[in-house]
Amino acid sequence: MTTLKRMLPLIIAMVALLLVFRIFVPTFLDSGNLLDLAQQISINAILAFGMTLVILACGIDLSVGALLALVGTTTVYFLTTGQTPLGLLLAVPAGLAVAALFGLGNGLCAAKTRMPPFIITLATMLIARGAALRFNQGRPMHIPDSQELFLALGNGRLLGVVPVPVLVMLMLFAMMAILLHRTRFGQHLYAIGGNREAAHFTGIPVVRTEILVYVICSLMAGIAGMIHASQLYSAEPASGVMFELHAIAAVVVGGTSFTGGRGTMYGTLLGAIIIGILDKGLNQAGVHFSLQYIIKGAVILGAVYIDVRRAK
């Protein structure tokens, strides 16, 4: 009830945007177009789910874009050097392991030292980007057509209709919403984000929770990286630039407070959808890409301004 009430402005904004673009693009609300839209939103939404947890814990993770590229290249590297079908069984865990390792590093630094998360993840962003560029001299790594299963991750459609990335995104959304809104871990997270010191005094495992938050965020980046590589039919070491900023934008448009402790997974999903509609709509309406940036910037500013005013 209260959640719905809080989400209402976002839902209204989403519907309004859909209707506005329907005026300029008559086919905008066609089911095919909407499914495309959902597909295009998936990667940013998945990144934003992880980012929500980090921002709720008063942190920030700038490394997810670069990590997305690194996990993509790592996975495809193992995919192409190993033998099918064993390649897939090795490649996916390897990719996720790299992601988890970076998450662990971010989390340990953030929870155990007094280094600011902004700086920590700025550094690990560079490290991840550099590591990704080590593969294949920084050139794209093609995925052979024989890797049907992996290619289906980004390009398949369930029953020929629903894109697989959308399914993965919705599944991850359900998991993350349950994790945040229905478990002790979620309560710990809100307490830490609201007042880290008080959480510690209440006996909450602050360090463990914080580390876990960064690990989950990195794993999300890893999964997104695999989908991204699959969609491109190749792993591109230079891909994912600015993805972290789009994810952060989805999170804050979704109403999560940048000072931690306030926000929901539902809001983030809506935030990602709104940004996705804006992207696709402006594109299809034929707005010049330079103007698209300016409009998106203005929308983010407006959304956060409204949120700050409402919180008062």
């Binding site: 229905r182 002790r184 307490a191 007042n195 008080a198 006996g203 495992p205 402790g261 306030r262």
Partner: protein, 503 residues
């Protein structure tokens, strides 16, 4: 108390009223301040003190009533007007730039300059002269960085800044709430000197002690109305308290009778960075009070026992069993609860609801896996609210919106869902009004009667002496003397604490 002198008072408020959306914050305040007077304004939280300050400071415009300065009616429509009327408000939270020097802070925003450049030399000379003229010798090193000063001296800087801007009416909002006994004394000495120079001061407090020591007159505010004014030469405390709460309360706390049985907590040779070998025991059904000055290391002792600060040595036993405590979780599992000294920084998640805060320690009771049980959660909250008489309109409201006393009651009460063996209370009545204080004492009393062992840390000597069964006098990370409470008086404890008598 009207004087028939020709000179009008410095400030006179008549029938000041202010309401917000139908709620009367001020419902008729009459108040008078003479030049060279310290006039205390006393009242419980919510009595309207803050609103009155904001009216004087130009933040709120009164709905009715008049403000008369030097016999002339004025209208204060903003901070600039307040400045021009010579009114300056010294808030609890100081507004100094800690990285700048005393002189730079005094002249912040009004720096003397020459050819568009900052004229440091003139600024330091002016600052030195100002401080000397005011007799504020404590801050005569005007080149010192403000962050190096004690809180009391920082307040003097704030006052000097106000007076350098030709303020004649100072409003001091609970200036001693963060000060130790010695610092308070230093501040009072400085305020008395300013008084002799003709500065009028409105001194807001809820400590009766301070009024007798410092003020010339006291006016009590209750429910937005000025109830009465007394001179302090023959202060009638019982009447003041009756004015404040609108009913009769005992000025002195009731000490729960000791039901001391077996030792609940035994601490032997505890050492940490600021604790140098502390040994004591608290038995079930008794209160052990720790008397000491602010900064004596009592909170650090509590933090070490509770596993917040690393322990360098010593032994802790709960109910005779030795326990190893590496963090708050271990302490809680061993049956020790600490209610920390700073409610807002260490106790509450202010942005969250009453329910969230009340049920945070007991997540296991209402969440299994990914199945939260909201009705069980509601039961926990309602039990705490009912048992401890916490005034809450809706358990879903943010804890922020509760008064300090109710917040504190919740902080103590929430642990009683599963009562611990040992309850350590660090400054449980700081920033809490008189009525809520009594209620908190009653809660502590009933907990002790039910067999809990309570460690009470308080900087209010009267509180420690009157509430505890036994008292430990604590200084510099050590217990100087520990005995039954009736073996001590305030004087003997103060002598121990200030070192005028060997332990």
């Amino acid at each position: 108390m009207k004087t028939d002198t020709e000179i009008p008072p410095l400030l006179r408020l008549q029938g000041i009223r202010k309401s917000f959306g139908g709620v009367h914050a001020l419902a008729g305040v009459d108040f008078e301040l003479r030049a060279g007077e310290i006039h205390a304004l006393l009242g419980e939280n919510g009595a309207g003190k803050t609103t009155l300050i904001k009216v004087l400071g130009g933040i709120h415009l009164p709905d009715a009533g008049s403000i008369v300065i030097d016999g002339e009616e004025v209208s204060i429509r903003g901070v600039v007007d307040a400045d021009r009327c010579g009114i300056r408000i010294i808030h609890q939270e100081l507004s100094l730039a800690p990285n700048l020097s005393i002189a730079e802070n005094i002249y912040l925003g009004r720096e003397p300059h020459r050819f568009g450049l900052l004229d440091r030399r003139t600024m330091y000379q002016q600052a030195e002269r100002l401080v000397a003229d005011l007799g504020l010798d404590e801050i005569r090193q005007v080149r010192a960085e403000v962050s190096q000063l004690s809180v009391a001296h920082q307040q003097l800087v704030e006052i000097a800044r106000a007076l350098s801007a030709k303020a004649r009416i100072l409003v001091l909002d609970e200036p001693t709430s963060a000060l130790s006994e010695a610092e308070t004394e230093a501040l009072f000495a400085a305020l008395r000197r300013l008084r002799s120079q003709g500065v009028g001061m409105i001194y807001i407090t809820h400590r009766l002690e301070e009024i007798a020591r410092l003020a010339d007159r006291v006016t009590v505010l209750r429910d937005g109305e000025s109830i009465g004014t007394q001179g302090t030469t023959d202060l009638d405390r019982t009447q003041l308290i009756r004015w404040m709460v609108g009913r009769d309360v005992k000025d002195h706390f009731r000490r729960p009778t000791s039901h001391a049985t077996t030792p609940a907590l035994e601490v032997d040779g505890l050492r940490s960075a600021k604790v140098h070998g502390v040994s004591f025991e608290v038995r079930h059904g008794e209160i052990l009070g720790f008397a000491g000055l602010v900064g004596s290391g009592r909170s650090e002792m509590a933090r070490a026992i509770f596993g917040i600060d690393p322990v360098h040595g010593g032994q802790i036993k709960v109910d005779g069993r030795e326990v190893t405590i590496n963090g708050p979780r271990d302490a809680l599992d061993a049956g020790i609860v600490l209610v920390p000294e700073d409610r807002k920084l260490q106790g509450l998640v202010l942005s969250q609801s009453v329910t969230f805060n009340a049920t945070l320690p007991w997540l296991k009771d209402w969440i299994t896996g990914c199945m939260p049980n909201e009705s069980k959660r509601r039961e926990i909250v309602e039990r705490a609210i009912r048992t401890f008489g916490i005034k809450v309109a809706d358990p879903q409201q943010t804890i922020d919106s509760l008064s300090g006393g109710n917040q504190q009651k919740l902080l103590v009460g929430r642990w009683m869902e599963h009562p611990p063996d040992v309850l350590i209370l660090d400054e449980p009545t700081r920033g809490v009004d008189v009525g809520a204080r009594e209620e908190i004492f009653d809660i502590i009393g009933s907990l002790v009667e039910s067999g809990m062992a309570v460690v009470l840390i308080s900087s209010d000597l009267g509180e420690v002496l009157n509430l505890s069964n036994r008292v430990a006098v604590y200084r510099d990370g050590r217990i100087l003397r520990m005995d039954d409470a009736d073996q001590f008086t305030s004087e003997t404890i103060m002598q121990l604490l200030t070192g005028t008598e060997a332990a």
